[in-house]
């Protein structure tokens, strides 16, 4: 995976995707703002949500053991998995023991994170994604690009093509006369998947919440594919990140107000399913829960960084992020895109790879993500925290570190800044109206950003000139001093 900046540069050239994303994020943003506005005590809810998650995270061993006890008492089997390999092996063993050739899946980021589908396919077991967007992604041999609407980068014409081309090879083909109307496309998915739901014997899900004091698992969804998977098959396997635990059933009163409003911008999502172990005569009679660590204990060890584990995957931070809106989800190189991905991935995976090193820089630090986050994760502060780590690890030799140092040096003294701005406006006069594609000395910094042509005169120059024209109206002229030349690195988008 290339660095975020390089991947984003390519994504920026994809105008179709940029248009889809801009439309989608703007639409969800507006819906979210409207329904959040209906709740008078939103800020109190956010605090309560953060507190509930912190309570669980700070005492995670306690609550996980409690969860295990309650699940087991209600007839579920609990497994623990240190990493992706172990989790995949556990799931595979259960599926094999049931002699199933296929599983139906509810959209789950934890199983994407461990690449369960790939592992099942290698073992000759088909894993069918049943969320409409996940189906589009799977049939399109593609990767999800958004937490909530994974196929946000595809438009209806593309989806029709994918259905026409691919459905037949894995089950019921798309109708001959399929148009690109959303209702017709949804109908095609309904018919295609129903035959799979009705015959599947094993389902795999994640969980939005796992309640410690009752052993209840909660899945929030819209289409009913979740309900199909959670109730029709004989065996249900839920892969649950250990950070999904909530101390008490009562906490759902808070969380079920925060999540749907932040996520889809609805007062409540169409369906929420809750089950506590095995329910006699209703739903799967064999229930497994795989508790997954896979780097989470490492994140928990960082006192500042652990708040990232509060994340309830609502995707509100993606929809308000100016960087995500333009670059799209794929550039983040992970199932967790956007601002949360920029902090979670390097923490879960370490900063060894190009993409993880670059992710803390995939932000303008505008703060919109923090404002939107229903559990008050301070993403901007964490980004800076992680940048420091990356820079330290690279002993200051990475291009970002160099440009950051140059920027710090320049902003450190107003004379240097003025000199730099003068040099830049001079450059602007020479360049005319053209856009700057790269700036010498700031190569990596400007690789993925088109720096706007600097104005002919800086604000400070204009102010100084005005002062000269009208000595009574403004402070004294700015001192002139020559400095090294570079441009202002503040103009990132």
């Amino acid at each position: 995976m290339p660095s975020f900046q390089r991947a984003a540069k390519e994504a920026l050239a994809n105008t179709q995707q940029r248009r889809n994303l801009a439309h989608a994020t703007a639409t969800i943003r507006a819906k979210r703002a409207a329904v959040v506005g209906e709740v008078d005590r939103w800020e109190e809810l956010r605090v309560a949500g953060a507190d509930a998650k912190d309570e669980a995270l700070h005492h995670l061993p306690h609550y996980l053991e409690q969860l295990e006890t309650n699940l087991t008492a209600r007839g579920a089997t609990v497994h623990w998995a240190r990493d992706a390999d172990e989790a995949n092996r556990i799931v595979l063993d259960i599926v094999r023991a049931k002699e199933a050739q296929e599983v139906v899946k509810v959209k789950s980021m934890a199983t994407q994170e461990i690449e369960l589908n790939e592992r099942l396919e290698e073992a000759g077991i088909h894993a069918w994604e049943t969320d409409l967007a996940e189906l589009i992604v799977q049939l399109g041999h593609d990767r999800p690009s958004h937490i909530l609407v994974p196929a946000i980068h595809r438009n209806r014409a593309e989806i029709r093509e994918i259905f026409r081309r691919e459905m037949g090879s894995v089950g019921r083909p798309a109708p001959e006369d399929l148009t690109d109307e959303p209702a017709r496309l949804a109908e095609a998915a309904r018919l295609h998947l129903r035959e799979k739901f009705l015959r599947a014997r094993v389902a795999v899900s994640g969980a939005n919440f796992a309640i410690a004091d009752t052993g209840t698992l909660v899945v929030v969804e819209s289409e009913g594919n979740g309900r199909m998977c959670l109730t029709l098959p004989e065996t249900l396997i839920s892969v649950v990140g250990i950070e999904k635990v909530l101390p008490s059933f009562e906490d759902l009163g808070t969380m079920l107000q925060l999540l749907p409003r932040s996520s889809t911008g609805e007062r409540m999502n169409p369906y929420t399913s809750m089950w506590t172990g095995v329910h006699d005569g209703d739903g799967p009679q064999e229930v497994h829960v795989v508790l997954l660590d896979n780097g989470r204990s490492h994140v928990l060890a960082d006192e500042l960084g652990r708040q990232a584990l509060r994340c309830i995957r609502c995707s509100a931070c993606l929809n308000v992020c100016p960087v995500y809106e333009r670059a799209g989800g794929h550039a983040y190189g992970s199932v967790y895109p956007g601002p949360i991905g920029a902090i979670l991935n390097p923490q879960l995976r370490g900063t060894g790879s190009e993409v993880d090193k670059s992710l803390p820089y995939a932000s303008s630090l505008c703060g919109a993500c923090f404002e939107a986050c229903p559990v008050r994760i301070d993403i901007p502060t964490l980004l800076v925290h992680l940048r420091t780590q990356v820079v330290d690890e690279a002993s200051g030799r990475s291009p970002e570190a160099t440009s950051m140092r140059a920027a710090a040096w320049m902003f450190g003294d107003h004379r240097r800044l003025e000199a730099a701005q003068r040099a830049a406006t001079l450059g602007g006069r020479l360049l005319g109206g053209r856009t700057l594609r790269s700036v010498p000395g700031l190569g990596a910094w400007t690789q993925a950003r088109d720096v706007p042509t600097p104005p002919r005169e800086t604000f400070r120059q204009w102010w100084a000139r005005r002062r000269q024209d009208d000595p009574g109206g403004a402070p004294g002229p700015v001192r002139q001093q020559d400095g090294t030349s570079t441009t202002t690195p503040e103009e990132e988008t």
Binding site: A24, A52, A186, T272, L291
Partner: protein, 216 residues
């Protein structure tokens, strides 16, 4: 070391800095809005259910059977499933209306298989709780609602909610529910916005949801 022991020990190490005991956040705050009156709560409930493109009909206890039958007729349902604990008065007025009424009992005497459910047009159930601020009905799958699959596979769900079951906000509902029951929260019919964010009703769950609100 087992995976369980190793994960727990990693987590203990990771939280060594935490000095407070579990539960020290104190009582869980109940952050909810309160309705001006029971009437206002019902109004809001009806409004929000309808906002999800479900149909809301308000009626008196005596009229439930007729209103349900009319809802089934509107969707041209020929067969309807009724859970064992459904009010017998409602069931008999459905029978009188001429629709084919089926119980959750398959050819082999056990509950209906999924493919048998697939052939049925509609289901009628009661509910446990209604939530006004969100327009949600909650089922706890007691005998008057049937097991979870019944309200999932048929294409129409007619759900009867009594006015005294409607609470104002989400935490009020959570407080009333029994977590040891399977629970299904339903807000409008099945829907997707996955294609260019155009909302389409009806993907895998029932495409038609009728809520009948019974007022004394």
């Amino acid at each position: 070391m087992s995976a369980r022991e190793e994960i727990l020990s990693r987590l203990r190490t990771a939280t060594r800095d935490v000095t407070t005991p579990a539960g020290s956040r104190g009582e869980i705050p109940r952050i909810a809005t309160v309705g001006d009156s029971p009437g206002a709560t019902l109004e809001l409930f009806a409004e929000n259910v309808a906002d999800y493109r479900a149909t809301v009909q308000r009626c008196s206890p005596a009229d439930v059977g007729g209103v349900v039958a009319a809802a089934l007729a509107r969707a041209a349902a020929h067969t309807v499933l009724v859970p064992t604990g459904l009010d017998p008065a409602w069931v008999s007025s459905l029978r009188d209306s001429g629709i084919r009424v089926l119980a959750d009992e398959g050819e082999d005497g056990g509950p209906l298989r999924a493919d048998e459910l697939d052939g049925i047009d509609a289901v009628v159930t009661a509910a446990r709780v209604g939530i006004a601020t969100t327009g949600t009905i909650v089922l706890d799958h007691e005998p008057d609602q049937g097991r979870r699959a019944l309200t999932l596979v048929p294409d129409q769900h007619v759900c009867v909610v009594r006015a005294d079951q409607v609470v104002h906000d989400v935490p009020d509902a959570v407080a009333l529910l029994d977590p040891s029951r399977p629970l299904t929260w339903i807000s409008g019919p099945s829907a997707t916005s996955d294609i260019e964010l155009d909302r389409v009703e009806g993907v895998h769950g029932p495409r038609t949801l009728d809520v009948v609100l019974v007022e004394p």
